[in-house]
Symmetry: C2
Subunit: 417 residues, 2 copies
């Protein structure tokens, strides 16, 4: 039996990100090149040595040009050197021209840095349906290729600028790093991310870039990234909309000389650190939802399989009725049990139990021991731990969402016009 172990304390993260330590052998830069009106819109991340890579991409049928390019490059070779990312324009639904532009972005930066075209990953986020302003981007690429070697700023500061350049409607940049020992050698993992489709779906892409100085074989890196993404980025549920551009990329350049070998104790340590890091980035994305006033962790326990538990959790997390009730601090358990009931997973409703922040608001056989007022009080905190117990088995899964406020509708209804 496998149970996910997720510390509840970890929800209580600080609002400001920790930029933290950068893994050995990586450089970053972020500049303004004119795609957006004012703010930074072009980022470059470079590994000084060849790095293995892994990628997890959107499952949307409509895939933006940079997603296609990244998948091709990932399948063509084993080592990579750089990521070029623009914000302000998603290069999605742009047809043939979009594909050419994404290819040109990687070619331009490759030629500036003296690399092969397919050693580069390309990523875009921003408005859908408009072609990239390639004149501005090619000018920007020349500048950023020199900026990345500049010694006027600390490397940490430059990497932080890269993290800012991938933002769209995010209100704060999301970065995190973790340093730990592998066989007595220091290993660092660093991650940056930008927000998902909660607010401005035209600028809704969820991007994550993970860098480490460990040595990790490509297949192992792919399996670890996929596992961790499935339990973190893929478990944050804001409005259920999946973007055309979502991607999480990881680079491992081995500069620390610590090696992660599959099925060893070190593999387990590294995977746990990676999971914690992606979880931190995921929760930062949920917390940055405009209009969100509460962060909700939903754990479904007692399911027949992890998939069942996830499906029930996801259905509850997507229910506008549950999300508005939590926003209004109304511990309306009828909405929760009804949402679970249409998840498609069969269970005995008489065994259903609901806990909010550790307090049982519904027991089995529909027993309610708290008054409505007492139940509602459990929803006062900003961090809501909602635990559902069903009687089907021993599996559980956790997902995260935020509440649904009037602000969300206001912002989304008047975004472009």
């Amino acid at each position: 039996m496998f149970k996910e172990i997720i510390s509840s304390q970890s929800l209580e993260i600080t609002a400001k990100p920790t930029s933290g330590r950068i893994p050995l052998g990586f450089k970053g830069a972020g500049i303004f090149c004119g795609i957006k009106k004012r703010r930074k819109d072009l980022a470059l991340i470079l590994s000084e040595r060849p790095a293995t890579a892994a990628g997890v991409f959107t499952t949307n049928v409509v895939q933006a040009a940079p997603v296609l390019i990244c998948k091709e490059h990932l399948s063509e070779r084993d080592t990579f050197r750089a990521l070029i990312i623009n914000s302000g324009n998603a290069n999605a639904c742009t047809g043939e021209q979009g594909y050419k532009d994404a290819f040109e972005m990687s070619s331009l930066i490759a030629s500036e840095l003296g690399l092969e075209n397919n050693e580069i990953f390309v990523s875009s986020t921003g408005v859908i349906g408009e072609t990239l302003p390639m004149d501005k981007i090619s000018e920007g690429i020349k500048i950023i290729a020199s900026e990345i070697f500049s010694t006027e700023k600390q490397e940490e500061e430059k990497m932080q600028e890269a993290a800012e350049a991938i933002m769209t409607t995010d209100t704060f940049s999301k970065t995190v790093s973790s340093t730990f020992l592998i066989n007595g050698k220091e290993v660092t993992i660093y991650g940056m991310a930008k927000g998902s489709g909660m607010i401005h779906p035209n600028m809704a892409t969820m991007l994550g870039f993970i860098l480490t100085d460990a040595t990790i074989e490509k297949k192992l890196l792919q399996s670890m990234l996929k596992n961790a993404t499935n339990k973190t980025f893929n478990r944050i549920i804001v409005d259920g909309d999946t973007s055309t551009n979502d991607m999480v990329l990881a680079l491992a350049n081995g500069a620390s000389s610590a090696e992660i070998i599959a099925e060893t104790h070190e593999h387990y340590i590294f995977e746990n650190e990676l999971f914690a890091l992606l979880k931190k980035l995921s929760l930062d994305i949920v917390r940055d939802g405009e209009g969100a006033t509460k962060l909700i962790e939903i754990t479904v326990d007692g399911a027949g399989s992890i998939e069942d538990a996830e499906k029930i959790g996801r259905t509850i997390a997507l229910s506008p009725l549950v999300k508005t009730a939590i926003h209004g601090e109304d511990a309306n358990w009828g909405r929760i049990i009804a949402a679970a009931g249409y998840s498609g997973i069969k269970f005995d409703p008489a065994q259903f139990e609901i806990f909010i922040n550790g307090i049982k608001i519904l027991g089995s056989n529909y027993s309610v021991e708290l008054s409505i007022e007492e139940s509602n009080k459990t929803l006062e905190p900003h961090y809501i731990y909602l635990t559902i117990k069903i009687g089907n088995g021993n599996y559980s899964a956790t997902c995260w969402t935020c509440d649904f406020s009037e602000e969300y509708v206001k912002i989304n209804g008047s975004y472009r016009s």
Copy 2:
């Protein structure tokens, strides 16, 4: 090739219901018995002669006691006589006691009317998780059993009172009737409904009761009701939440002496009338969504199957991002194509076309011929016909939803507290 033919004009229905003609041999009554604070809360519908019946019930795993009782009665016999319905309390998540109470409701009215217990259908709608006030209900049942034979009011008026007694948060009662000729004999179908889970999910049940004086064999009535429900009540998508109490029941008592025989021309006529009637009730439910300012008809054309078309339409109809954009009159086609893209149905995005109220806002190969301002203008009417064309085949499906306003969140966040 089967294509659904749905007249677009039919969206433009009047706000006030037409109570219309009651089929021969049916009586109704609606009274106040004290479950709610003030308004009518108990309804009775009686057929003077045995009627065949059909039912379509919620697919939620959590099924309220009256749903279980109705299913049992429906399977136990071929003819039925009455429906007893209360509002204000759903008798859902009430365990053993709830089942006993629902059974008692049918027994009480059966004994008042001199009928068998299983000739009665029982239906409840209202708050989840509280047991029925059986003292008030048994008093009410005595009163309504005499009220239904009272001649002080017109039959039409009494049936209208029944329609009012099944309302919860509905702002108007929803009734419709249609009279037409079958083999030279007048046949009437009458329907009443109450709203679905768009606003107050504790009072969110969608109920529909259909009465006709045609003679229809039980199996044929079931198949017609199921087909019509699948294309009407099951295609209205407000927030995706499916209640524990949803049901649509039909009674056919043969009082008109016109018989509908399977696979005849008359069968086709009757089925078409039934579909139109259920569609009218469905649209009334969508239009009654508090906070809703626009009624949206989504037709997906060019799909490989009706199921595929429906799945894409349903995903678009459920996307908060699409619904808030339409609310804000922002013809944000990126949101529509992205929602279609995560429906799970594969298609070639370059062949995707979008029409709003007949105007093409997105052509194939992502061609956009209108300015943003011109596109947005297409969303000004209250009735939005959104047509999506994909290039997979010749099948289409239509569903209905409403826009998503700040009001929705405001009402749902402060419902109980």
